[in-house]
């Protein structure tokens, strides 16, 4: 059938063609619509002046809301509590509260009749929910930022009106490259910026810090973890599992960045997100999660249907696929956070923000024969080649504690976590520390000041992130978790190269902020 009037192209238009044309237009419109909704998260150093101003304006409005009412879920303090605060008594009338609201409280008894039990949230750490949980937290945070002043007509407490926050995203700080400011991106250091924060370490890295943190910010070490398809090794272990805890990224990179690079508020999960730099730091970690997902897809990610705990404001629409689950309000399940386009963002990655390639990693690990080096056969272990030779700097004074245990090289070794060095915490406050693990033959005298020995025998080096005050529960005691260093692959290399039955030693060097000697016991466990 033909439609009556020929068009200039002289080709008669059939209904079929018309339908497909309309369909095409509809699809195109949809496509354009969807496209417009996906915003770019950029490197904070690449933001235009108006983009940075919009982000600062949005953050300032959140902070202003909290200054008025710290219990406002759409304010900065509550959003920090989503990360920092498992429990708080929420006053029905915030102006009558005798709490300043900065700190999450640990009061067992209801302070008065006008208070309700409330659970703002807790970050997930030391398990496979670490990366998904922070992604979910950022989804809500970003939507909240966008809704602060979409029309650009609000005046914040600095007296600035606008610009529109409609297209604000959380910019990331690529902390594997040299900072544009003294220690952080310039945007975090400007004196009048809401992104500046008193309670963080300031000033350029000292020489000691540079040496120590080089391995923490080492892009090659991070790249190797991205290319490894073993999700749990990268992302952490399930909370129901009897072994495990941190994935490699979390203790080797994330934890020392919190404790030693930012320090102060960032040193503890119970205060970390009060530092606005938290969001730039963790946005980059979300980009690393994205890199891993792009490499390997989400199939291997564990705990996909786990619900992510947090009490977020009703004004933010949850992401597609969200179901509330039973019990308390939540951010929904891990699996709805795999596709960032559905969450309304994607990353802009300039060449300077790309990680080293697979080949770079292979090259770093290759011995003279071109094959991967085996532990004990070379002057630099795989860990030293990829990452570094330990976080303790002998030039900075004595280590907090050095402990040595014997280990007999067994005749076989299972997979990952089959031989672990375990640092078990007894008593006392749950503080952050750094731990370097060396494995060497009994005939060698271990000297933490010897570069040769460190290079040759380092098997693992990372940090434990203590929970500090507000997250502890149990009065005098605090939850303590052992810090586990998997040495299975190094021992596997020793078995393969004729060392079965030999006595070797494991030495753990503990340093960092303020733990006292003897606060952990070191053991080697064969599972």
């Amino acid at each position: 059938m033909q439609i009556g009037h020929p068009l200039r192209c002289e080709r008669p238009i059939t209904t079929r063609a018309l339908v497909s044309t309309i369909l095409f237009v509809v699809i195109l419109l949809n496509f354009v619509g969807a496209e417009a909704a996906v915003l770019k998260r950029k490197n904070i150093d690449d933001l235009t002046v108006p983009e940075l101003e919009a982000y600062e304006h949005a953050i300032q409005i959140l902070m202003d809301r909290s200054a008025k009412d710290p219990y406002d879920k759409t304010g900065y303090t509550w959003q920090a509590w989503v990360h920092n605060c498992p429990f708080i008594w929420r006053p029905r009338n915030p102006t009558s509260s005798r709490f300043n609201g900065q700190n999450c409280d640990r009061i067992w008894r209801r302070p008065g009749p006008g208070y309700d039990e409330s659970h703002p949230g807790v970050c997930e750490h030391g398990k496979d929910l670490f990366l998904p949980w922070h992604r979910a937290q950022f989804y809500y945070f970003e939507k909240l930022l966008q809704s602060t002043d979409p029309d650009g007509t609000e005046t914040d407490s600095r007296g600035k009106t606008g610009p529109s926050t409609k297209e604000v995203t959380v910019p990331y700080w690529n902390w594997t490259t040299a900072p544009s400011g003294d220690r952080y991106p310039k945007a975090l250091e400007r004196a009048d910026s809401p992104l500046n924060h008193d309670r963080r370490i300031k000033g350029p890295l000292t020489l000691f810090e540079q040496i120590m943190l080089a391995q923490v910010t080492n892009p090659l070490a991070i790249a190797e973890k991205i290319y490894n398809a073993d999700w749990q090794r990268f992302g952490g272990y399930r909370q129901e599992d009897s072994v495990g805890g941190y994935g490699d990224f979390e203790d080797i990179h994330h934890n020392p960045m919190h404790a030693e690079y930012f320090g102060l508020d960032m040193r503890s999960p119970s205060t970390a997100a009060l530092d606005p730099g938290f969001f730039q730091f963790h946005a980059y970690i979300d980009l690393l999660y994205e890199f891993w997902l792009q490499e390997h897809g989400p199939n291997a990610v564990t705990s996909k249907t786990h619900f992510l705990r947090a009490d977020q404001p009703d004004s933010v629409a949850p992401p597609p696929g969200h179901v509330r689950g039973a019990g308390l309000p939540s951010m929904g399940q891990v699996e709805i956070y795999f596709d960032t386009a559905k969450l309304g963002y994607e990353y802009e990655v300039q060449p300077k923000d790309r990680l080293p390639t697979r080949n770079d990693v292979l090259r770093a690990l290759a011995g003279p024969a071109g094959t991967p080096v085996r532990f004990g056969e070379t002057g630099r272990s795989a860990f030293a080649r990829l990452t570094g030779n330990g976080l303790f700097n002998p030039a900075s004074g004595p280590a907090t504690m050095i402990d040595t245990v014997d280990v007999e090289i067994p005749n076989s070794v299972g997979g990952r976590n089959s031989i672990v060095v375990k640092l078990s915490r007894g008593h006392g406050p749950d503080l952050s520390y750094l731990a370097d693990v060396y494995l060497y033959p009994t005939s060698t005298t271990f000297d933490p000041a010897s570069k040769d020995i460190r290079d040759r025998y380092v098997v693992r080096s990372g940090g434990y992130w203590g929970r500090g005050g507000a997250m502890s529960h149990g009065g005098a005691g605090t939850p303590s978790k052992p810090y586990v260093a998997d040495i299975s692959s190094s021992v596997g290399d020793l078995i393969a190269t004729g060392h079965v039955g030999e006595e070797w030693q494991v030495t753990v060097v503990i340093s960092g902020h303020p733990p006292t000697p003897g606060f952990v016991t070191v053991s080697v466990e064969i599972n």
């Binding site: 599992d241 705990s303 308390l328 915490r425 008593h427 005691g477």
Partner: protein, 113 residues
């Protein structure tokens, strides 16, 4: 049949009730306050509770906790409970919890036929 019922378990978990009231746990069903005095909650969170209680090192026979030189338990995994300084609960109680879980977490003894 282990012959262990909710009342026994409630007694075992009693010392942790106040403390755990402030803790939320994400599971595959949703997010819950760890109310250790509530049967439905304990049933729901049994996997996590079991892993947390059974998170201390045992001797080779598996019937006693290993202790460090100060007599304190030695944790084996990420979130051992109860936390130090209280340390592990009596090993018999942990085993009772495990047996109760393996038995299907009965609330009450079956009625006599």
């Amino acid at each position: 049949m282990a012959g262990i019922y909710w009342n026994d378990i409630k007694t075992i978990l009693q010392p942790g009730v106040t403390c755990m009231r402030q803790v939320t746990i994400g599971t595959e069903e949703g997010v819950f306050v760890a109310r250790l005095d509530d049967y439905e909650t304990v049933k729901r969170l049994h996997k996590v509770i079991r892993a947390a209680l059974n998170a201390w090192r045992r001797n080779a026979a598996g019937d006693a906790w290993l202790r460090d030189s100060n007599g304190r338990g030695i944790p084996t995994k990420a979130h051992p409970m109860p936390p130090p300084p209280r340390g592990p609960m009596a090993i018999e109680d942990v085993d009772a919890f495990i047996a109760w879980v393996d038995d299907g977490m009965p609330e009450e003894p079956p009625p006599i036929a």
